[in-house]
């Protein structure tokens, strides 16, 4: 059984926001890239399915060659191979990313697609469901539990929603996006990182996939949110805290 997993290299979430904005605007800076954490959860889940008959885990990443190391880390964890789709100078939108991935899905025909529920840079949380919409496949987002039925034609998933855990029974093939509590991704070991350099890596160009070149959504600018103003008023004990809350008319 083949699974397709997507990996997006993103700026380290610990990057100061101003430095991240500079890097997004194309200014050079010292931003470290890491694989999107939610995508690593997807990779981990695919690897855990290996004893359920999964023997081919193909990683797809729409990124340029400079961030190949972040994609290789997924192979070092246990994926089999990777396809890199180089966007060139383009800033791709969610729809174009989904269309590029759909191109690979149609070629690879995996049993299903596993993705992170969102990327930790633009927090858009769109590519998975757009991909499902393009393919006309069922979708299950924010998944924190997943198990196959007996003949592996369907999966039962638990989705983390605002209302609680929603359990769905989903026909495969489907697009499944992974939430935090699905698993804890393993670390890639050094020997595996070295070995990963020999894994098959296919290189494609976005411009050759026949996808419309103009993004549906463009970025017009960035700003930093207004900070919360002023210093905290410090109180000495719970009695003073209660009195302060009453004084501020925050409690009756």
């Amino acid at each position: 059984m083949k699974i397709l997993v997507t990996v997006k290299p993103v700026a380290d979430p610990n990057t100061p926001p101003a430095a991240w904005i500079d890097s997004e605007k194309g200014k050079s800076g010292s931003v470290n890239y890491v694989a999107n954490y939610f995508d690593l959860i997807a990779v981990e889940q695919a690897i855990r399915f290996k004893d359920m008959g999964v023997d081919d885990i193909c990683v797809v990443s729409v990124t340029d060659e400079s961030k190949m190391a972040q994609v290789r880390s997924a192979i070092a964890m246990g994926a089999n191979r990777a396809t890199l789709i180089d966007p060139g100078e383009r800033k791709l939108g969610a729809y174009q990313l989904a269309a590029a991935i759909a191109h690979e899905v149609k070629k690879e025909e995996p049993a299903f697609v596993l993705m992170g529920k969102q990327a930790t840079d633009d927090d858009a949380s769109q590519v998975g469901p757009i991909l499902a919409g393009i393919l006309g496949w069922p979708q299950a987002t924010f998944v924190s539990q997943i198990e196959f039925n007996d003949d592996k034609s369907r999966v039962k998933v638990g989705r983390e929603t605002d209302e609680g855990v929603e359990v769905l029974d989903v026909k495969l093939p489907a697009v499944i996006t992974c939430d935090l509590r699905l698993n804890e991704p393993r670390y890639a070991t050094l020997p595996n990182l070295i070995k990963s350099k020999k894994a098959p890596m296919e290189h494609l160009k976005f411009s050759e996939l026949g996808i419309e070149d103009s993004p549906r959504v463009t970025v017009e600018g960035y700003s930093l949110p207004e900070g919360r103003s002023g210093e905290a008023k410090m109180v000495a004990d719970a009695n003073e805290l209660a009195a302060t809350l009453k004084e501020m008319k925050l409690v009756d």
């Binding site: 930790t120 769905l168 939430d179 905290a232």
Partner: protein, 317 residues
């Protein structure tokens, strides 16, 4: 502009977040003197229609059928897609939530439309309405512009004011002819029973962090919450530890809240949590570590052992 608000149901009631979505629709409509319509989708909606139909919408479309009893992305996206195409809507607004985060992008795929998620403000650039939204765990704001004829927007429910009340629109039943969907079946919703207010709309919220040390202490947190009529929220650490279910999580991967009063108990104030409480009017922090980042965003702080301070606070309130 032809604006459509997708009003959502949650556990048989209108979602509070609909109000922010309606407000943004009213603001958008005001720009060209245009009007807006709404659609309500679910099953057995007769009692709900009146409650929703008081904000000056032209038309309230109602899609009422058994397949819409439980939320399913495929079914909902299909129905909205049909309505949008039939009526020629070019602005579709929903409330940012785990539901809209699920079906709106699917709709974007089906309608070939650009989408902005969690929009907190509208701005004008060169005569075009652009959309501002938080990115990078809420540490930065990004202004985005949609170039497709149809714009899909989900609205940050904590960012907008109350909608203006207005007349009732014409109620029109829309037949979305839902197919029996064998691809995805709803099995069940596992939900923690709670009598407390809804976390996303509560005026007061008590947040519990890793500092409470065990699930047992949630009883005490609950006592404080009940004394103040507050909801209980938690950090990712508390949810990861299994002390509370996921729907209690506040922060980047959980809910964004905007209560008048947020009392953070034993919460260090990591960026991911801070992203979820940005909209809180007053933040009170109780933490034994005076260096905890929560004190940088708090309005009132108490450096103390929470196991002593919280019972005292309950007694004094």
């Amino acid at each position: 502009m032809k604006i459509l608000v997708v009003a959502e149901m949650q556990l048989g009631k209108l979602k509070p977040s609909n109000r922010a979505t309606i407000r943004m629709a009213q603001d958008l409509a005001a720009q060209d003197g245009g009007s807006f319509s709404m659609v309500l989708i679910g099953h057995q909606l007769d009692d709900t229609v009146g409650e929703l139909n008081k904000y000056g919408a032209d038309t309230l479309y109602v899609i009422d059928a058994p397949p819409f009893e439980h939320y399913l992305a495929d079914t909902l996206a299909d129905a909205i897609c049909k309505l949008v195409k039939a009526q020629g809507f070019d602005r579709v607004l929903g409330g940012e939530a785990t539901t809209a985060r699920d079906y709106f992008p699917r709709l974007a795929g089906a309608l070939d439309a650009g989408m902005c998620r969690g929009v907190c403000a509208l701005t004008q650039i060169d005569g075009a309405t652009c959309y501002q939204r938080p990115v990078f765990s809420g540490m930065a704001l990004r202004t985005e512009r949609i170039h497709t004829p149809i714009h899909l927007i989900t609205v940050d429910p904590t960012a907008m004011g109350e909608p203006n009340e207005g007349g009732a629109g014409e109620v029109v039943a829309f037949d979305a002819s839902p197919q029996d969907n064998a691809n995805v079946k709803f099995v069940e919703l596992q939900r923690a029973a709670s009598e407390r207010p809804d976390l996303t709309v509560a005026d007061r919220v008590i947040g519990a962090g890793r500092g409470i040390k065990s699930a047992d202490y949630l009883d005490t947190i609950g006592k404080l919450a009940d004394k103040l009529g507050a909801a209980v929220g938690a950090t990712r650490a508390v949810v990861d530890a299994g002390w509370l279910p996921n729907e209690f999580q506040v922060g980047q991967t959980g809910k964004a809240i905007a209560p008048k009063l947020y009392i953070a108990i034993g919460i260090s104030g990591a960026v991911q949590h801070a992203a979820g409480i940005r909209g809180a009017k007053t933040i009170v922090a109780i933490n034994k570590d005076a260096e905890a980042p929560i004190f940088k965003i708090a309005d009132v702080g108490l450096v103390a052992d929470l196991f002593e301070a919280v019972p005292q606070l309950i007694e004094n309130l």
